[in-house]
């Protein structure tokens, strides 16, 4: 029940804030923070409950009849994987509010959409019924359009439309797959657990349906070549929304790929793993190389997200314990770090320089040293330096990749190349942004230091990145039992 509180709190928060007049923006932001903090609190409570509770993989299960005619149920529950993502979502929700602290333009509507989106995301991570999952998935798409189209910048309507169209195409494809599962099983149910236990899909069926589901969910995960919504969407979105998009929404897709596509169709997954591996490597290298030549700081981060999601996909394609663990850790890790990078570039730096063009930045290291340092730390975390969460997750993915017998040696080599490229673009962009002078605009005025809200947001995210980096057991302890059923299914399928 605590788990479902996350959804209730968010939707309730959205409804209440939506009706507060816009001029009370102090009240609104405080309330928003309260909503975010309490949903995060509920997620953390789940974590501790999960640690203390018995050995059941799925806990806090609520199972109610909903549309009996088609076998759709209202069935929710949590395992370690969903809890880690609930915590991530709550965390990003809090920081999103903190980095929107100065928002004055219709904050009531903004937060209404914001929490509707978050509620939808929470719902997806909780759903144990594919029909319900799909409903939440759709709920999460709609508010994105309004947030970007109203509060965005640049080509915002184009980006909003593109993003929503991609999302809908993705979910339509995924829906096709879900319906195939429904009819393929012949069980007249959308119940994930029952499908997993008794689905008994034929090999032929799995091979055909797996790519449909994987592409459907993969679009939202930024899978190449369906990734182009991500950079444009991220760039046009207001900061809180880019944080959510990079931090959480992309994880929705990856979560679907893991939970539904791989979990239900293990034989299909084994059949397609080499292809998925190749696509993942393309994601990694391709995103990194494009980030290297971007001139707009936010585009750099946008493409780095594409590249980092490649590690998630690569971890998924390994289909072994280490790799899947790596993918799950990378979802969390990139969620935090990606959000942090967007926050710094989109709000902290932009609100001071009023430009994101790298060649317009002038001596920032002297003019905003503290902020530059935070970005450099975030950059180091992003390139997977030991001590940060990125290192742990990438290490898992690499070990998993090495153990995946189906992969060509080139996948490993190119991944190594991708790591190098990641390192290079991060350092090159740090150099271009902070250590260069461009006498074009006002030379040496020193910028204001970070506000309290900004400090808090950066501090929280960095803290989590370091905590997971130094003691990954915090997450692995709940992830391990949750990945076990999927691995079991894969092991059976391999025979």
């Amino acid at each position: 029940m605590i788990a479902f509180l996350t959804v209730i709190i968010s939707f309730l928060g959205a409804a209440v804030i939506g009706f507060i007049p816009a001029k009370n923006n102090k009240l609104i932001r405080n309330l928003a923070l309260l909503v975010a903090v309490s949903s995060f609190g509920a997620a953390v409570a789940c974590y501790f409950q999960y640690l203390n509770a018995g050995s059941a993989v799925f806990q806090q299960v609520i199972d109610l009849a909903w549309i009996p005619a088609i076998g759709a149920k209202f069935k929710i529950g949590v395992d370690g994987l969903s809890i880690s993502l609930l915590i991530l979502t709550g965390l990003i929700a809090i920081c999103g509010v903190l980095f929107s602290w100065e928002l004055n333009d219709r904050p009531n509507q903004f937060y209404a959409y914001y929490f509707a989106l978050i509620g939808g995301v929470f719902g997806v991570f909780l759903s144990l019924d594919l029909f319900l999952l799909f409903v939440f998935y759709e709920i999460a798409i709609v508010p994105k359009y309004f947030i970007i189209a109203i509060w965005g910048s640049g080509k915002k309507t184009y980006a909003a439309m593109k993003l929503v169209l991609y999302s809908f195409v993705g979910s339509a494809v995924a829906l096709l797959g879900l319906i195939a599962l429904y009819f393929g099983s012949g069980l007249n149910t959308f119940d994930l657990l029952e499908l997993m236990a008794n689905g008994d899909f034929s090999t032929q069926f799995q091979v055909v349906v797996f790519p449909i589901l994987f592409i459907g969910f993969g679009i939202l995960a930024g899978m190449w070549p369906f990734h182009t919504w991500a950079p444009t969407g991220h760039v046009a979105a207001p900061t809180a929304a880019s944080m959510l998009l990079a931090g959480v929404v992309m994880k929705l897709g990856a979560y679907g790929c893991l939970r539904v596509a791989i979990g239900l169709l293990p034989e299909g997954a084994i059949h397609w793993a080499p292809i998925v591996g190749w696509i993942a490597v393309i994601n990694i290298v391709y995103g990194a190389l494009i980030a290297l030549v971007q001139k707009d700081f936010k585009y750099v981060i946008g493409y780095s997200s594409v590249s980092h999601m490649g590690f998630v996909l690569l971890g998924l394609a390994t289909l072994n314990e280490v790799g899947l663990m790596g993918a799950s850790l990378q979802m969390f890790s990139h969620g935090i770090i990606g959000a942090l990078l967007f926050a710094i570039v989109g709000t902290v730096i932009y609100s001071r320089t009023h430009t994101r063009q790298l060649d317009q930045f002038h001596n920032l290291m002297q003019r905003m040293p503290g902020i530059c340092w935070v970005f450099i730390l975030a950059g180091l975390a992003s390139m997977g330096l030991p001590g940060f969460s990125g290192f742990v997750s990438e290490l898992h993915v690499l070990i998993g990749t090495w153990h995946q017998g189906q992969f060509s040696i080139w996948i490993i080599i190119l991944t190594g190349f991708g790591i190098l490229a990641t390192f290079t673009y991060t350092l090159v962009k740090i150099h271009e942004a902070f250590f260069r002078s461009s006498p074009a605009n006002n030379p040496n005025e020193v910028y204001a230091p970070m506000t309290v809200a900004e400090r808090a947001g950066c501090g929280i995210l960095l803290l989590f990145a370091v905590a997971i980096g130094i003691y990954p057991n915090l997450l692995t302890v709940i992830l391990e039992p949750s990945l076990a059923p999927i691995l079991e299914a894969l092991a059976t399928a391999a025979k």
Binding site: I290, L385, P386, G416, T424, L427, R436, S437, N473, E480
Partner: protein, 668 residues
């Protein structure tokens, strides 16, 4: 893991990196004033030094012992991923050297950086560096070593770019980080490979660690795994790639000379004495893997020998005092690699001590040279060009004498520390590979020559600069004197050192070969005399042509331009990198266009459906047409069924008439 058990377990070794870590965190969070920062950092490092000496003393006389203490970090796929610390003579001697030289340099920096307003930050970075460096020395896990290795790289990045307001410093920092990272990629592959092959990251683990004999034997029995190397050799070669990056070996040496943009104590501590030696240390640590495959050792000696020669040649034609020392460092690191590789080929297990002993002596005299150079640069008003120095000797006696002590040690002048260590390298090279021996010997001759050249420029003649030359304060000169004593006398413990370092086998390595001894005397004395001959009376102003340049203008020009390595990379690797990124961007553009085209096609299809099919076919022909027909037909019906009885009767009558006529016609 028990940090407080000082008797049985060696868990307390973790205190050695933890002490500077505490200092670093305190400095980062509390931001005390410069002086307080220096004191905090120095105090923490003193504690580390105490522990290091305890560790060193523990290995003295127990050469064959390897003590470990392991603890679990995380679980990966049900396997406990363990970290740990290891204490053997390699650890002990390296710890003592790193923390001792580190402490001297910390003290020196307290004076050197006292004018800098960011002194607190500086000591924070230095402490972080010590965390990484000491951590990688005690690490008993190749993964843990890698993690500390990266911290070291990060600290180096921060410190090279410490004066980031100079664009050259910021660029050098970036270059150093990226270049060493190329090597790190090899290291990463190596450690993953080791994990896959052995299932552990630990070096020593009660018989099943990576470096233990049964594991090595199992790895080596797997022949021709990759490029003709056996299972152990492959891991060794990948680890060596990491060492090549960190220790500035060919072809990844380009970052080290540029790294001299950092403050001079940084050059001394990190880019001469400790960090760059980490690569050599890695090879020494993983030595059993190298021993298992001669091909791996061959790679090591060839890379080392060529690096030694290449860098020594370039050093002849440089004018920046720190840059000369930097190339000299690259060259000496090459010699250390030769020592390791040739030692392994010639005397197996004992070989590790040959390279390591040069590492230790070099650390002292090169740190001395850099600190001396820093003192001279300071005294000459921050001038680094040796053409603008001259006559410094009479004005800075202590610094100059110390510098000269370092110089003769580097030149391997008989009975200085450098003589003993270099002699052993040449000796083992003589036995292992004659070509590499002559390469190393020639590089050593050049070393003596360029160091003499530099000293002539700096100390002889009249002062050619514009500043007011003055001696440095005692806080700077005292460390110089201490280091000078070590540089001169460390060789006399060599016998014992070789013994201490023979942790692998206990084989006694000290041997003599009169040919080699004579050659090394000729090298040292010959190089110095040649240098004096050429430069003692030469004109050395900024407008004068260097005497060697007068002799060989064209080759000297190449050397002045550092044999164009940077330019070569600029033309090849950088271009390639950029081109690749551009190409990928073009693909991205293509995808964009495809998306646009796809959208256009979809909307055209929509247009087609709505315009042609819907409006024309369905609407006009089908829907409208049908409606029209229905309408028209109903018009007829409406006309017919108008409700008037007479009309119906008229039609019925007409119909009856027609039927009657038909009957009549058909009945016939």
């Amino acid at each position: 893991m028990n940090l407080f058990d000082f008797s049985d377990s060696v868990g307390w070794l973790m205190w050695i990196p933890i002490c500077p870590l505490i200092a670093g965190v305190v400095l980062a969070l509390l931001k005390p004033s410069g002086k307080v920062s220096a004191m905090v950092a120095i105090a923490a490092l003193t504690v580390s030094l105490g522990f290091s000496l305890k560790a060193f003393a523990g290995t003295w006389g127990h050469e064959a012992h390897t003590l470990t203490h392991n603890f679990t970090w995380i679980q990966i796929a049900g396997v406990n991923l363990e970290f740990g610390v290891v204490l053997n003579s390699l650890t002990g001697s390296m710890l003592a050297m790193v923390s001792f030289i580190g402490l001297l340099i910390f003290i020196y920096s307290a004076s050197y950086m006292s004018q800098d307003e960011r002194m607190g930050r500086f000591f924070c970075y230095l402490s972080i560096f010590m965390v990484g460096m000491l951590g990688l020395v005690v690490a008993n896990s190749v993964l843990m070593l890698f993690m500390f290795w990266e911290i070291v790289g990060l600290a180096s990045y921060l410190l090279i770019g410490f004066w980031f307001h100079k664009p050259s410093a910021a660029a050098a920092a970036k270059k150093a980080f990226i270049t060493t990272r190329i090597g790190d990629l090899g290291f990463l592959i190596g450690l993953l490979w080791a994990f896959k092959a052995t299932g552990t990251f630990l070096f020593f683990d009660g018989g099943v660690g990576i470096l233990e004999s049964s594991t090595i034997a199992a790895l080596a029995s797997n022949t021709n795994v990759l490029w003709g190397l056996n299972g152990a050799g492959v891991i060794a070669v990948f680890l060596f790639i990491g060492a090549v990056g960190k220790s500035g070996q060919l072809p990844l040496h380009v970052w080290l000379p540029d790294a001299m943009e950092g403050p001079t104590p940084v050059s001394a501590l990190i880019h001469a004495a400790t960090m760059v030696a980490a690569g050599v240390f890695l090879v020494a640590r993983a030595f059993p893997l190298f021993l298992a495959d001669t091909a791996a050792l061959e790679i090591v000696i060839w890379i080392g020998g060529l690096t030694a020669l290449f860098a020594a040649l370039i050093a002849i034609a440089q004018y920046d005092i720190k840059r000369i020392l930097a190339y000299s460092t690259v060259s000496q690191l090459g010699l250390m690699m030769v020592g390791l590789g040739a030692g392994g080929l010639a005397i197996q297990d004992g070989g590790v001590s040959i390279g390591m002993f040069h590492l230790l002596t070099h650390a002292f005299f090169k740190a001395l040279l850099f600190l001396g150079a820093g003192s001279i640069i300071h005294g000459c008003g921050d001038e680094q060009d040796i053409r603008l120095m001259g006559g410094v000797f009479s004005k800075m006696k202590i610094s100059s004498l110390a510098y000269l002590a370092g110089t003769i040690a580097l030149c391997a002048f008989p009975f200085t520390s450098g003589y003993f260590s270099k002699d052993q390298i040449l000796l083992s090279a003589w036995e292992a590979n004659k070509t590499v021996f002559w390469i190393s010997a020639f590089a050593s001759l050049l070393t003596a020559f360029y160091m003499t050249r530099q000293c002539c420029y700096v100390f002889l003649g009249k002062y050619r600069g514009e500043g007011h030359v003055h001696e440095s304060p005692p806080l700077m000169t005292v460390p110089l004197v201490i280091l000078a004593v070590f540089a001169l006398l460390l060789g006399y413990v060599s016998e014992h050192f070789y013994h201490v370092l023979d942790y692998l086998s206990g084989v006694h390595v000290h041997q003599h070969n009169s040919t080699v001894v004579i050659i090394s005397w000729i090298i040292a004395l010959g190089g110095i005399s040649l240098g004096l001959l050429v430069y003692a009376r030469a004109k050395m102003g900024i407008d004068d042509v260097d005497p060697v340049k007068r002799l060989m203008t064209t080759p000297y020009g190449w050397l002045e331009n550092r044999l164009y390595a940077d330019e070569l990379y600029q033309l090849t690797a950088f271009k390639l990198w950029g081109a690749l990124a551009k190409a990928i961007s073009a693909i991205e553009g293509l995808i964009y266009i495809m998306v646009v085209v796809a959208t256009a096609i979809v909307s055209m299809i929509g247009q087609f459906f709505s315009g042609t099919i819907d409006k024309k076919l369905i609407d006009q022909v089908s829907f409208d047409g049908t409606c029209k027909r229905i309408y028209e037909s109903s018009q007829i019906n409406a006309f017919i069924q108008n409700g008037f009885l007479q009309g119906y009767l008229r039609i019925v009558t007409a119909g009856a008439v027609v039927i009657g006529i038909l009957f009549l016609l058909l009945a016939r």
